[in-house]
C-alpha cells in the first residue's frame, strides 16, 4: 500500500504506460484474432442481414397486414391466416394438388433412382455411359424448354397419344383434362430421377464388399443379402434423398406454370402451392396475403421435416 505511495513519478509513469500497453494489446489481440474472419464473412453477413433475415422478418410482419403495394400496410391481425385456414377454397385445392404431387412424385422418383442404381452397381460394363444418360434429364429438367416439350408430348394430338393409337388406344387430352393433368407433372418429375440415382450409387459404393462375401459364405440368397445388408445400410441415403426431394417437390413451380399457361388450370388441377402464391402476390397484388401463404409453406415444410427426423429414429440405421 505504502509502496505505491513511495514510487517515483517516473516509475509511476512507466507503470501507467505499461498498463496502457496491456489494454492496447488486449484490444489488438481481439482485433487480430477476429477481424480477418469477419472481413472474409462480410459479403455473406451483409447478404444475410439485408436479403434474408431482414426481409424474412418484414414478411412475417406483412403477413398480418393487408399490404397491396399501393397503400401502406394496415394491420389486420390474424385475419389472413384465419382466411387461409377456413375460407379460401383456392388454398385448399392448391394444398391438395401439392400434397398429391409430393405423395406421388417422390416415392416413384426414389424407387426408380434406387432400382437403376442397384442395376448399375452390379459392375456392369459401360456404367459411365448409362449413368450419364440417366442423369441427363435431371440436369436439363428445370428449364422452360422441357416444360414446353412435356406440354406437347401429353397434348391431345401429342406424341403419347400417337404412340397409344398404334396399339389402338384412344388417349385423353392429358394436360387439359382435370383428372389427368397432375399426372403429367408427376411423370415429368419422375423422369428426372438422375440426381437421387447418383447419390444412391455413391451410397452403394460405401457398403463394404466383405459383408456380402461373408453373407454368401453363410448361404444367404441375393434377395436376403439385399434385404439384410443393402437396404439397412442405405437407409441414411434414402432418408436424405426423401427429405431433399420432398422439400423440392413442395416448391415446384415452372412446369405447372408453363403447362397451364400460368393459370394452374384446368379447374385448379395443376395449381401448385407456389403458383397460387405467385398469383396472389404478382397477379392480384395481395402482398400481405401472399406473405401469410409463404409462412404457411415454411411451417408445412418445417413440420414435415421434423416428422421425418422423428420417424428416422425408427427406421434409419446409422453406424455408431
Amino acid at each position: 500500500m505504502n509502496n505505491a505511495m513511495r514510487t517515483m513519478p517516473a516509475e509511476a509513469a512507466t507503470v501507467e504506460r505499461y498498463q496502457g500497453v496491456v489494454a492496447d494489446s488486449r484490444f489488438k489481440r481481439l482485433w487480430n484474432a477476429n477481424a480477418p474472419g469477419y472481413l472474409f464473412l462480410l459479403p455473406w453477413l451483409l447478404g444475410f442481414f439485408g436479403l434474408t433475415l431482414g426481409p424474412a422478418l418484414i414478411s412475417l410482419y406483412l403477413s398480418f397486414t393487408d399490404f397491396d403495394m399501393l397503400r401502406s400496410p394496415g394491420w389486420v391481425g390474424a385475419a389472413n391466416y384465419v382466411r387461409i385456414a377456413t375460407a379460401d377454397p383456392k388454398f385448399a385445392s392448391a394444398m391438395s394438388v401439392t400434397l398429391t404431387y409430393v405423395a406421388l412424385s417422390v416415392p416413384f422418383k426414389l424407387a426408380f433412382a434406387l432400382m437403376v442404381a442397384l442395376a448399375l452397381n452390379r459392375g456392369v460394363r459401360g456404367l459411365p455411359i448409362y449413368r450419364a444418360i440417366f442423369y441427363l434429364p435431371s440436369l436439363l429438367g428445370a428449364s422452360v424448354a422441357i416444360a414446353v416439350l412435356w406440354r406437347q408430348l401429353f397434348a391431345g394430338d401429342g406424341l403419347v397419344n400417337a404412340a397409344l393409337a398404334q396399339f389402338g388406344i384412344q388417349g385423353p387430352s392429358w394436360i387439359s383434362h382435370p383428372s389427368y393433368s397432375i399426372y403429367t407433372l408427376v411423370a415429368l418429375s419422375v423422369w428426372q430421377f438422375g440426381s437421387p440415382m447418383i447419390i444412391f450409387l455413391a451410397g452403394l459404393r460405401q457398403i463394404p464388399q466383405d459383408m456380402y462375401e461373408a453373407a454368401s459364405l453363410d448361404g444367404a440368397s441375393k434377395f436376403r443379402q439385399f434385404y439384410k445388408i443393402t437396404l439397412p445400410l442405405l437407409t441414411p441415403v434414402i432418408f436424405f434423398n426423401a427429405v431433399v426431394q420432398t422439400i423440392d417437390a413442395f416448391k415446384a413451380f415452372t412446369p405447372a406454370f408453363i403447362i397451364s399457361g400460368g393459370t394452374g388450370g384446368p379447374i385448379n388441377s395443376t395449381l401448385f402451392y407456389t403458383l397460387y402464391l405467385y398469383q396472389e402476390a404478382f397477379g392480384n397484388f395481395r402482398m400481405g396475403y401472399a406473405s401469410a401463404l409463404a409462412w404457411i409453406l415454411v411451417i408445412i415444410i418445417a413440420i414435415f421435416t421434423a416428422f421425418s427426423f422423428l420417424s428416422s429414429r425408427y427406421w434409419v440405421h446409422y453406424d455408431d
Partner: protein, 292 residues
C-alpha cells in the same frame, strides 16, 4: 455424405454371375436409356423436320432435314432470340463471378479462420439452406422496386455477390476442409496474412470445387424462370426462358417447328457443360447430395 466417386466400381464377381442375368440387366438398361432419351431426341428432330410431320410421326428420324425452323424461330418475336441469349449470358456469367468470389470468401472463413462466433454463423448459414426463398420474396421485391432496380439485371445479380446462394458456401467448405492444414499453418508461421493464404494457397488448390460451383451456378441461372419472371417485364430485358415462354403464348398452334428449334437452342449450353464436365457435375452431386 462424402463419397469418393472416382473409386473403382466394386469388383464384379463375374464368375459367379450368370450370363443370362447380365444380358437381362443390359437389355433393361438399354431400354430404359432409350425411354429416357426419347423425348429429347424427338424434340431435336421436331426442330428440323417438315412442319406437317411433327404431329403425325412418332419416329425420331425426320423424313427430311431442314433448318428453316431455326431461322423462323430466331426472329419469331418482336425482339430476336439473339437478344434473349445475350441477356441470359450476361446474367449467368455475372452470377458465376459473384458466387465464386463471395462464396469462396465465406467458405474460407468457415473452414480455416478462427474467430469468435464462427460456429454460430456457420449454423445460421446452414439454416438458410432450409428456408424456402418465398419467405423473403415479397420484401425483397419491394426493396428492389424502391431502389429502381426492377426491369434491370441488378436484383438477379447483386445478391449473388453477397453470397445469397449459400449452398455453394457449403460445397466449398466441404472441399476446403479436405486440404491439408499443414499448408496454411506453415504459411502462417512464415507470417503470411489470411488474405495471402486464401489467394495463394486455397484458391489454386480448390480449382475443382470452384469449377463445380461455377458450372452449377451457370446452369441454374441459365434455367432460372421465377426470378426473371418477377423482375424483368420489358421484352428487351428478357432472358431466353422468358422469351421461350412468350413464344409459347404467342404461337400456340402456329409455329411448332420454330418453338422446338428455340427450345433446343436453349438447352445447348447446358448440354455442352454436361458433355465436357460430366465428372465434376456427378462428383458435386454425389458428395453434397444436390437435388438436380
Amino acid at each position: 455424405m462424402t463419397a469418393i466417386v472416382t473409386a473403382p466400381p466394386p469388383p464384379s464377381d463375374v464368375n459367379k454371375r450368370s450370363l443370362p442375368g447380365s444380358i437381362l440387366v443390359h437389355a433393361l438398361l438399354i431400354g430404359g436409356s432409350l425411354l429416357m432419351l426419347y423425348p429429347l431426341l424427338w424434340m431435336l428432330s421436331a426442330s428440323v423436320r417438315p412442319e406437317n410431320e411433327i404431329f403425325t410421326s412418332t419416329s425420331i428420324f425426320p423424313s427430311s432435314i431442314d433448318f428453316s425452323s431455326y431461322l423462323r424461330g430466331w426472329v419469331g418475336l418482336d425482339v430476336s432470340f439473339g437478344r434473349f441469349f445475350w441477356n441470359s449470358l450476361v446474367i449467368s456469367v455475372l452470377t458465376v463471378i459473384g458466387n465464386v468470389i463471395a462464396c469462396s470468401l465465406a467458405a474460407f472463413a468457415f473452414a480455416r479462420l478462427r474467430f469468435a462466433g464462427r460456429n454460430f454463423w456457420f449454423a445460421i448459414m446452414l439454416g438458410t439452406l432450409m428456408i424456402p426463398y418465398h419467405v423473403t420474396l415479397i420484401p425483397q421485391y419491394v426493396l428492389f422496386l424502391n431502389l429502381g432496380w426492377v426491369n434491370t439485371i441488378l436484383p438477379l445479380v447483386v445478391p449473388k455477390f453477397l453470397a445469397s446462394d449459400a449452398f455453394f458456401i457449403f460445397l466449398m467448405v466441404q472441399f476446403f476442409r479436405g486440404i491439408p492444414r499443414e499448408l496454411d499453418e506453415a504459411a502462417m508461421m512464415d507470417g503470411c496474412s489470411a488474405w495471402r493464404i486464401y489467394w495463394k494457397i486455397m484458391l489454386p488448390l480448390s480449382l475443382p470445387v470452384l469449377a463445380t460451383a461455377a458450372i452449377f451456378s451457370f446452369i441454374w441461372t441459365w434455367d432460372d424462370f421465377f426470378g426473371p419472371l418477377i423482375y424483368l417485364n420489358d421484352m428487351n430485358t428478357y432472358t431466353i426462358q422468358l422469351g421461350l415462354r412468350t413464344f409459347v403464348d404467342s404461337t400456340s398452334a402456329s409455329d411448332w417447328g420454330g418453338l422446338f428449334a428455340m427450345s433446343t437452342l436453349t438447352l445447348v449450353p447446358v448440354f455442352f457443360f454436361f458433355l465436357f464436365f460430366q465428372r465434376l457435375l456427378i462428383e458435386g452431386i454425389a458428395t453434397t447430395g444436390m437435388k438436380r
